[in-house]
C-alpha cells in the first residue's frame, strides 16, 4: 500500500531534526526542534502500526533504493550481482518495534529536556540521540542485511557520541571508548555474517525471480535468506550445507549477544550506565533489544542450523541467571537497573532459543518500554536523593509518592506480572523445535532450571529494589536535607507516567487469549500452559517473599499498622518463616554474591587484561621499531631484490657475457 512509503519518514524525520537543530542558535530551541521531530516520527510510526494491525496477515511491504551495485566478472566466485540496497520493510514486526522505539526515544528526549538542563553537552545530546534514533529505527525497518549493517553501525556511532557526552571526566571518555570497542566487535561479527550469507546464498538468489519493482533478487534480503535456508536444508543450494548454516548462525548469535549486552558483554551497558541517565535509558531501551530483533530477522538460519538454538537458549538463560544474581547483590542503583534489563533480555533469548519466536519477541518488545520506565524512574530517584546507593535512599513511598508508585508498577511487571517469565517458561516447556520435533529433554530441563532460577532472582531483584527504596524512612546522612525530599518537577514526572502506561498496555496486549497480532502472519502460538503459569507464579511468590523477608523494613510494628503484632508473630511461628528464610534462601544469596564477585573480579579484569595485553604488545612493537632493525630490514630488502634479479637473469640466460 502506498501509505507504507511513509515509513521512510520514520527514520528520516529525526535525521532532519538533528540537521535543522544545527541551524538554531539557542540551545533550548535546538533541543525542542529535535524533540518535535522525534514526536513526528513517532506519530507516523503509530499510524503505520495502526494500518498494519488491520492488515496483519498481508505480506510485508518493501521499498528499496540501490546504494551501489556492480557485476563482478568472476563467475566462479561471485555468481550474483553485487547490489547493496537500503530501504524499508513494513511488516507487523518492524511496525510495532518502530513505534515502540520511536516512542521510547521521544520519552527520553522529553525527559532530557528537563533532566539535562544546564549540562555541558545539552545540545549535543539531542542531535546525537536523534542520530541514534535514525540508527535504531532504521535497523528495525531495514529489509535486508546490508541496510541492517549500516544502521547497526550507525547506532554504534550514535551511542559513542552519547556516552562521550561527559568528556570532561577522563573516566567517562574511557567508558565511551570501551563501549565503542565492545560494540565494534559485534559490528565485525555482523559484517562477517553478512558477507558469509552473501557468499553462500548469492548463487541461490541469482536463481530466484526478481521481486516486482527490482532488477534482481537481493541476496541480502531477509526473505531471500529464509528461502535459501529452506532449500539448503533440502540440499539444493550449491556449496552450502548444515555446516555453513551453523557458522552463519553462530556469527549472528555472537553479534546479537554483544548487542543485547549478554554476559559477559554486559560490560558495555554497565559502562554506558556511567553516563547521564537519558543516555543510559536510550542504550538500554532502544539499543540493547536490537540484538533479539536481529535474531528474529535471521530466525530461519538459527532454526535450521543444527544445535544453534539450544545453545542460544542455554546461553541466554545462564546469562539471565548470572546478571540477575549480580543485580541482587549490587548497591548501586544504576548497575541494578542494567542487570534487570540484561536479565530480561536473557529471558527473551532463552525463549527464542527454545523455539518460542513470538514469546521472545514479546519479551523484547515489552523490555523496550519497561526499560525506559525503570531507568527514567531511577533517574528521578537519583535526582531526588542525590546518590546512587539504594541503601542511602528509602522512605520513598511517603515522600516521593508518584515516582515510587511508578517504581512499584515496574517492580510488579518485572517480577513476573510482565509475563516475561511466563512466556520464557512456556516456551521452554513446549520446547517445539521450529525445524520440527521437540528439543531433547536434557536441553529443555537445563533451560527450564536456569529459567526458574533466573525468574526467581529477577523477582527478588525487583522486590529488593522496591522495598529498599520505597519502604522505611529516608536515610539520614550528613550534608543532605532528608526532609526536603519530594517528587521532582512535572517535566520529569510526565514521561515516567507515559512510559508506565505504555508498558502496561504492551503487557496487556500480550495476555494469552489475544493473538500476537503484532507478530504478523506467523501464527505460531504456544498454547496457554497451566504449568508454566503456575511455575511463574511460584517464582514470583518466592522472589517477592524472600525480598519481603530480607529487605522489608524490619519488624517495626509501626511499619504494619494494619496487622496486630501478635498475629504477625503467630504467623511467623506457624510458618517457620525464619527457618525457611535462613535455611533455603541463604545459599541462593551466597551463590549470588559469589557470582557478583566473579563478575567484579574475573569479567572486569578480563576486559582490563585484554587492554593490558594489547598495550604490552604495543610496547614490544615499539621496542622493535628502532632504527637499527629498520636498517636491517632495508638491507635485507636490497639483498633480496638483487638476488631475485640475479636469479632471473641466470635463469633467462642474461648472466653470461655473450661472445658473438
Amino acid at each position: 500500500m502506498a501509505i507504507y512509503n511513509a515509513a521512510w519518514a520514520i527514520p528520516l524525520l529525526p535525521l532532519l531534526g538533528a540537521l535543522l537543530s544545527f541551524g538554531v542558535e539557542s540551545q533550548r530551541r535546538a533541543a525542542q526542534m529535535c524533540v518535535v521531530f522525534s514526536g513526528l516520527s513517532f506519530m507516523v510510526a503509530a499510524i503505520l502500526l495502526a494500518v498494519r494491525a488491520t492488515h496483519a496477515s498481508a505480506g510485508p511491504f518493501v521499498s528499496l533504493v540501490t546504494f551501489f551495485s556492480m557485476l563482478p566478472p568472476e563467475g566462479t566466485i561471485f555468481t550474483s550481482q553485487f547490489q547493496a540496497q537500503v530501504g524499508i520493510q513494513v511488516d507487523a514486526l518492524s511496525a510495532s518495534f518502530a513505534a515502540a522505539i520511536a516512542f521510547a526515544t521521544l520519552l527520553v528526549q522529553a525527559y532530557a529536556l528537563t533532566a539535562m538542563r544546564g549540562e555541558a553537552g545539552f545540545r549535543r545530546f539531542f542531535w546525537a540521540s536523534s542520530l541514534l534514533a535514525v540508527g535504531t529505527i532504521g535497523f528495525v525497518l531495514s529489509p535486508n542485511l546490508f541496510d541492517s549493517l549500516i544502521m547497526w553501525m550507525g547506532a554504534t556511532a550514535g551511542l559513542y557520541l552519547l556516552v562521550s557526552l561527559g568528556w570532561q571526566r577522563s573516566d567517562n571518555a574511557l567508558r565511551a571508548m570501551r563501549v565503542m570497542v565492545v560494540l565494534t566487535a559485534g559490528d565485525i561479527a555482523l559484517t562477517l555474517g553478512v558477507l558469509f550469507s552473501w557468499i553462500k546464498f548469492g548463487a541461490f538468489s541469482s536463481l530466484l525471480a526478481a521481486p516486482v519493482g527490482q532488477t534482481i533478487a537481493d541476496p541480502f534480503s531477509f526473505n531471500v535468506i529464509s528461502q535459501a535456508v529452506v532449500s539448503t536444508t533440502h540440499g539444493s543450494v550449491a556449496g552450502a550445507g548444515p555446516r555453513a548454516l551453523a557458522v552463519m548462525g553462530i556469527v549472528f548469535v555472537v553479534a546479537a549477544l554483544v548487542r543485547s549486552a549478554q554476559f559477559p558483554f554486559h560490560l558495555w551497558l554497565s559502562d554506558a550506565a556511567g553516563a547521564a541517565i537519558p543516555v543510559l535509558a536510550l542504550a538500554a531501551a532502544t539499543v540493547a533489544p536490537l540484538g533479539l530483533f536481529l535474531l528474529a530477522r535471521v530466525y530461519p538460519v538459527l532454526a535450521h542450523a543444527p544445535r544453534v538454538l539450544p545453545v542460544l537458549a542455554l546461553v541466554g538463560a545462564v546469562s539471565a541467571v548470572l546478571t540477575a544474581a549480580v543485580g541482587v547483590t549490587h548497591r548501586n542503583v544504576r548497575s541494578i537497573a542494567v542487570c534487570a534489563v540484561v536479565s530480561e533480555l536473557g529471558l527473551g533469548l532463552a525463549a527464542l532459543g527454545m523455539g518460542g519466536y513470538s514469546p521472545g519477541l514479546f519479551i523484547a518488545f515489552t523490555s523496550v518500554l519497561m526499560s525506559t520506565l525503570l531507568i527514567l524512574v531511577i533517574g528521578n530517584l537519583i535526582r531526588v536523593y542525590r546518590t546512587d546507593d539504594i541503601f542511602e535512599m528509602g522512605g520513598a513511598w511517603p515522600k516521593v509518592r508518584a515516582t515510587s508508585t511508578a517504581l512499584g508498577a515496574w517492580a510488579l511487571l518485572a517480577c513476573g506480572l510482565g509475563l516475561s517469565s511466563y512466556f520464557a517458561l512456556s516456551a521452554a516447556f513446549s520446547g517445539a523445535d521450529p525445524a520440527g520435533g521437540r528439543f531433547s529433554a536434557p536441553e529443555r530441563g537445563a533451560v527450564t532450571v536456569a529459567l526458574v532460577i533466573a525468574a526467581t532472582l529477577g523477582a527478588l531483584l525487583a522486590g529488593r529494589l522496591l522495598l529498599t527504596i520505597a519502604g522505611g524512612a529516608v536515610v539520614r546522612r550528613r550534608g543532605f536535607q532528608h526532609d526536603r525530599v519530594a517528587d521532582p518537577e512535572p517535566g520529569l514526572r510526565r514521561p515516567v507516567w507515559l512510559a508506565l502506561v505504555a508498558a502496561v498496555v504492551a503487557v496487556v496486549i500480550g495476555v494469552p487469549g489475544l493473538q500476537f497480532v503484532f507478530y504478523g502472519n506467523r501464527h505460531q502460538v504456544i498454547g496457554f500452559s497451566v504449568v508454566a503459569a503456575l511455575v511463574a507464579l511460584l517464582t514470583l511468590a518466592c522472589g517477592v517473599g524472600v525480598a519481603v523477608l530480607l529487605y522489608a523494613p524490619a519488624r517495626r510494628a509501626t511499619a504494619r499498622p494494619w496487622m496486630a503484632p501478635w498475629a504477625l508473630r503467630a504467623l511467623e511461628e506457624g510458618l517457620y518463616v525464619e527457618w525457611v528464610t535462613q535455611s533455603a534462601m541463604q545459599p541462593l544469596l551466597v551463590v549470588a554474591s559469589r557470582v557478583s564477585s566473579f563478575d567484579d573480579q574475573v569479567t572486569a579484569s578480563l576486559a582490563a587484561s585484554v587492554g593490558e595485553s594489547a598495550d604490552l604488545a604495543a610496547g614490544r612493537v615499539a621496542t622493535l621499531e628502532k632504527t637499527r632493525s629498520a636498517r636491517y630490514l632495508a638491507g635485507g630488502l636490497i639483498v633480496i631484490a638483487v638476488l631475485t634479479l640475479l636469479s632471473v637473469l641466470a635463469a633467462t640466460g642474461h648472466l653470461w657475457v655473450h661472445v658473438a
Binding site: F67, F68, S69, M70, L71, P72, P73, E74, I77, F78, F82, L149, I150, M153, G154, T156, A157, S164, W167, Q168, R169, S170, A173, L174, A176, M177, M180, V181, T184, A185, I188, T191, L192, L195, F196, W198, I199, A614, D615, A617, A618, G619, V621, A622, E625, T627, L633, A634, G636, L637, I638, I640, A641, T644, L645, S647, V648, A650, A651, T652
Partner: protein, 496 residues
C-alpha cells in the same frame, strides 16, 4: 585527441614556472606567490573534478576503458622499443586524481601558515603535483618511470627544508628508500620491455609472455618497489620518520597521495603485468597484509607522538589495501581503490588536524595534551569525522571501501580476511584512545587560550569533509566507474 589530461598534469608546472619569476620580498608579494599557486592547483582540481564527473557519466554508461580520455603521442621510436607520451585516465585513475588534486590544493592553502621561502615551497608542491598526476595518468612504462623519478627531489626537499627537528634524518630515509624503489622500478621496466623482448613500452600493448623466472623476478621487484612507496609492513619506517618530522602540509601530501601511488602502481604493474606470479604468491601477500594490519594497529597504540600514531594507522590501512591486492577479486580491487580515496582524504584530515593541534599546544606528545574539546570543539569534530571514516562507519567514505574490500577478499582468503577484520577493532580502540587523550578529559589551564579552528583551517578541512561525505553517500555513482577500470586487471588475472 584531447589535451585535458595534459592540462591536469602540466598546469601545476606551468604555474610553478610563473611563480619562479615572482619576487617574495615582503608579505604582500608572498601572498601573490601563494595566490598564483592556488590558481594553478585550483585549475588542475577543477578540470579534474569536472572531467572526472563527465568521465563518470560516460564510463558508467558503459563506455568502458577503450579510447576514453587518452592522449597518445609517440615519444621516441628510433630505439629497440617505442615509447609513447601516453596519458590515459580510466575508472581506476579518476577517483584517485580527484583525491590528489584535492589534497594538493589543501597543501597549498596550508602554505599560508609558512612564512619563510614560500616561493620554493609552492614551486616544489606544484612540481610534486605534476609528478603525482603524471604517475597516475601515464600509460607507458618509461613515462611512468620518468614521472615517478620526478617525485624524488621535490619531496626530499619538502621534507627536509620545512620539517621540524630531525627532518634531516627523515629526508635521508625518504631519499634512500625512494631512490631504491625507483631503481627497482627501472629494473622492472627493463625486465618488462627488454628481457621479455617487447618492442613497445605502452602499458596497453599486449605484452609477450614471460618466462617463469622473469615473471617471478619482475613481480617481486615491482612488489618491493611499490611496497616501499606504499609503506607496507617491513618497509614502513621511512614513512613513520617522514610523517612525524615533515611539516603538516607535506605530511598530508605524503600520507594522502604517496602511499596511494604505491598501491596504484602495485595494481597497475605488479598485478596487470605479472598476473600469474601475483596469483601464485597471493598467499604471501595476504600474509604480509595480516601481519601489517596487526603491526600497524598495535604499534599505533603505544605511540606518544601524534603523527607517528597516524603513520601507523596508515600502515594498517595500507595493509587492508594489500589484502585486496592479494585477493585479486574485482570487488576487492574496487574496494581497494575506494579505500585509497577514503584513506587519502581521511589521513590528510588527520594529519592537518594534528598539525593544527601541535601548532596550538606547541607539543607533539599525546601525553601533554588533553581536554581540548573545551577550547576547540570543531577541531575535535573534524578528528572524529576522519577517525570514523577510517574505522569505516556508514555515510562516510571508509564504510563502502572497507565493506567491499572485505566482501571481495573473504571468498579468496577467509582466515586472512577475518584476521584483518579483527585488527579493525584494535584500530578503533587506538583512534578513540587518542581522541580521549587529546581532546577529552579535564580541560587543562595551559591550553585556556587555545583558539578553535581558524578560517584557514576551515578552508583546508571543509573540502576534505565534503569529499569524505560525498564518497560515502554517493558511492553508488563512483563504484561502476571504478569497476570499469578494474575489469582490465581482473580479466588479465583470469586469463593469465
Amino acid at each position: 585527441m584531447s589535451v585535458i589530461l595534459s592540462a591536469i598534469v602540466w598546469t601545476p608546472t606551468l604555474f610553478a614556472v610563473i611563480a619562479l619569476f615572482l619576487p617574495e620580498r615582503d608579505e604582500e608579494e608572498r601572498g601573490r606567490v601563494r595566490t598564483i599557486a592556488v590558481v594553478g592547483a585550483g585549475i588542475s582540481f577543477l578540470v579534474t573534478t569536472l572531467f572526472a564527473v563527465l568521465g563518470q557519466i560516460v564510463l558508467a554508461a558503459g563506455g568502458g576503458l577503450a579510447g576514453a580520455y587518452q592522449e597518445n603521442h609517440a615519444w621516441f621510436w628510433n630505439f629497440l622499443f617505442r615509447a609513447y607520451y601516453d596519458l590515459t585516465a580510466d575508472g581506476m585513475t579518476l577517483p584517485l586524481l580527484v583525491v590528489t588534486t584535492t589534497v594538493f590544493g589543501c597543501a597549498i592553502f596550508h602554505s599560508w601558515k609558512i612564512h619563510e621561502r614560500v616561493r620554493l615551497y609552492v614551486i616544489l608542491v606544484l612540481l610534486l603535483e605534476t609528478a603525482v598526476n603524471g604517475v597516475l595518468c601515464s600509460a607507458d612504462f618509461v613515462l611512468f618511470a620518468v614521472f615517478w623519478g620526478l617525485l624524488l627531489v621535490p619531496m626530499y626537499l619538502l621534507i627536509r627544508v620545512w620539517g621540524g627537528p630531525g627532518a634531516r634524518r627523515a629526508s635521508a630515509w625518504f631519499a634512500g628508500f625512494h631512490t631504491l624503489s625507483f631503481v627497482m622500478i627501472v629494473a622492472t621496466v627493463a625486465i618488462i620491455i627488454v628481457a621479455a623482448g617487447n618492442s613497445s613500452s605502452a602499458m596497453t600493448a599486449d605484452l609477450k609472455t614471460f618466462s617463469v623466472a622473469a615473471e617471478t623476478a619482475g613481480f617481486w621487484l615491482s612488489f618491493a618497489a611499490f611496497g616501499i612507496a606504499m609503506a607496507i609492513f617491513p618497509l614502513h619506517t621511512w614513512m613513520v620518520e617522514a610523517q612525524s618530522k615533515a611539516s603538516p602540509g607535506v605530511a598530508a601530501i605524503l600520507s594522502g597521495t604517496m602511499l596511494m601511488l604505491g598501491a596504484y602502481g602495485m595494481m597497475r604493474i605488479s598485478l596487470v603485468v605479472f598476473p600469474s606470479a601475483a596469483h601464485y604468491y597471493s598467499f604471501a601477500i595476504t600474509g604480509l597484509a595480516v601481519v601489517g594490519a596487526f603491526w600497524g594497529s598495535i604499534g599505533a597504540v603505544r605511540q606518544d607522538e601524534l603523527r607517528r600514531f597516524i603513520a601507523y594507522m596508515n600502515v594498517a590501512q595500507m595493509s587492508m589495501v594489500l589484502l585486496a591486492i592479494g585477493a585479486q577479486t574485482s570487488v576487492a580491487l574496487v574496494g581497494a581503490i575506494l579505500l585509497l580515496a577514503a584513506h587519502g582524504f581521511a589521513s590528510a584530515m588527520l594529519t592537518l588536524v594534528s598539525g593544527a593541534v601541535e601548532e596550538r599546544t606547541r607539543t607533539t606528545s599525546i601525553r601533554a595534551m588533553g581536554g581540548l574539546v573545551a577550547q576547540a570543539p570543531r577541531l575535535a569534530g573534524f578528528w572524529l569525522v576522519a577517525a570514523f571514516s577510517v574505522i569505516g562507519f556508514p555515510a562516510l567514505a571508509g564504510f563502502t571501501a572497507d565493506f567491499m574490500v572485505f566482501a571481495g577478499s573473504f571468498p579468496a582468503h577467509r582466515i586472512a580476511t577475518v584476521l584483518v577484520m579483527a585488527s579493525v577493532i584494535i584500530t578503533t580502540g587506538g583512534l578513540l584512545w587518542v581522541a580521549n587523550r587529546v581532546f577529552f578529559g579535564p580541560p587543562r589551564d595551559q591550553f585556556v587560550r587555545v583558539p578553535d579552528v581558524s578560517f584557514l583551517d576551515l578552508t583546508v578541512l571543509i573540502p576534505l569533509v565534503g569529499a569524505v561525505l560525498l564518497f560515502g553517500i554517493r558511492a553508488g555513482a563512483i563504484v561502476p566507474v571504478i569497476s570499469n577500470g578494474v575489469l582490465e586487471i581482473t580479466t588479465r588475472i583470469a586469463s593469465g
